[in-house]
């Protein structure tokens, strides 16, 4: 009965850093609490009614000591803020080598899709040591992708992409929870993150029948929705070529420059008028309501694969 855990496992590279910040702040807080409680009990007993303690020249104002116990807590809290902010930066910046996974939250399950086309429900298999960026979105209400062992959490907000990343450094099974209240079965929207040796992971990838990588299905959708009609070298319509566009800056009409990330590509498909590339006329029709959410993910995966195949030289 007594073998219940009192501290979560450390499953990712960032986990021990977060724990370090937590213990640093816990130490400060425990020290302050003990000091306060000790002083209260000590003074309460020493100066209790009827005790013969020295109560001469009571001090009711002492600006110096007040300045001290404003300054010292302020300094300590600034240190606490800085330490936590630095670790937050590290948790925030996605490393270059991160592989991508798409997680779509919907009422009471996580639909997870690997770029290779493999789909999972409430399960996510990842290789050991490889950084994984999870691109999140939701089909209905706000959910929150939370893996306690990796100390990471990010809300899946409907209508936009949010993302998080982790680099597992231990093999095993780790809890996956939904942390944002989302209705009746909020507590059943849970699952597992399976961290496997790279070899086992490859073997798992191949198992379970050939699955079309998202990029190839994306390519078919790219043709079937008529995107290739304009966005290909041979087309008569003057439209920006998409090879090597992903991840690089795109100059827009009106002078601003934006990075062609998932958000920009998703918005350009759904709201082509909002961010038109410089030098092109806003003629592209909208596909809002015609392309479903997961088909959109596949087309974006395809456009990304264009990016890697023939890296365009920066003009």
């Amino acid at each position: 009965m007594w073998d219940f855990p009192l501290f979560p496992e450390q499953g990712s590279a960032i986990a021990w850093r977060v724990d370090a910040v937590f213990f640093f702040e816990l130490a400060i807080c425990t020290a302050v609490t003990i000091m306060i409680c000790f002083l209260i009990l000590y003074y309460a007993t020493k100066y209790r009614r009827g005790s013969r303690a020295d109560r001469s020249n009571v001090v009711t104002d002492n600006h110096l000591i007040e300045v001290i116990w404003v300054g010292v807590p302020l300094a300590i809290s600034m240190v606490m803020f800085a330490v936590a902010a630095v670790v937050y930066f590290q948790m925030y910046r996605v490393p270059e080598d991160a592989s991508e996974v798409y997680a779509l939250g919907r009422q009471w399950m996580w639909q997870i899709e690997h770029p290779g086309g493999k789909r999972e429900i409430n399960e996510l298999h990842v290789p050991l040591g490889q950084a994984v960026k999870v691109v999140l979105s939701s089909q209905d209400v706000i959910h929150s992708f939370y893996v306690p062992a990796f100390r990471v959490k990010q809300d899946a907000v409907p209508g936009r992409y949010t993302s998080m990343w982790f680099r597992p450094d231990r093999v095993g099974k780790f809890h996956l929870y939904c942390a944002e209240y989302c209705g009746t079965d909020h507590s059943r929207m849970i699952g597992w993150i399976h961290v496997m040796e790279p070899a086992d992971y490859q073997q798992w990838l191949e198992s379970g029948g050939p699955t079309e990588p998202m990029a190839t299905t994306g390519a078919q959708l790219f043709k079937s929705y008529g995107c290739s009609g304009c966005h290909s070298p041979s087309s008569t319509v003057r439209a920006p070529l998409l090879d090597g566009v992903f991840g690089h800056p795109v100059p827009l009409e009106g002078g601003t420059v934006v990075t062609a990330d998932e958000r920009y590509i998703r918005d350009s498909i759904l709201l082509p008028m909002s961010e038109v590339a410089a030098g092109y006329k806003p003629v592209m029709p909208t596909f809002q309501g015609r392309i479903k959410e997961d088909e959109l993910l596949k087309i974006i995966a395809y456009i990304k694969s264009l990016g890697r195949k023939n890296e365009r030289v920066e003009q």
């Binding site: 925030y92 691109v135 992409y161 934006v258 990330d261 998932e262």
Partner: protein, 111 residues
Amino acid sequence: MSDTITTPETEHGSHHILPKSSYYVVYAALMVLLVATVGFAYIDLGRVNFLVTMLIAISKALMIAMIFMHVRYSERLVWLFASAAFLWLVIMFAFTLADYFTRGSLNILGK
């Protein structure tokens, strides 16, 4: 209880009776500003357009508050309360719009 409770310098503060003319002057100014704000709307000044409209609106608001609502002649407390309300409004706008305007700036997906 002695006769007067409130801070000494309010010689019947808000009872200051203004001449009718000052009301008409303010009214005329409001009319001019109304015409101005509508007029400016039809001239394309790009981003400045919104600033001009807001400046005009704020100046109309100040005139109404100072003269029509007697804030100009009321005790300091009324000045404090009136300005505190708008200060809190600015706090709410500033922090919320700060979040919205810095969403894309780090062009790291989703943040």
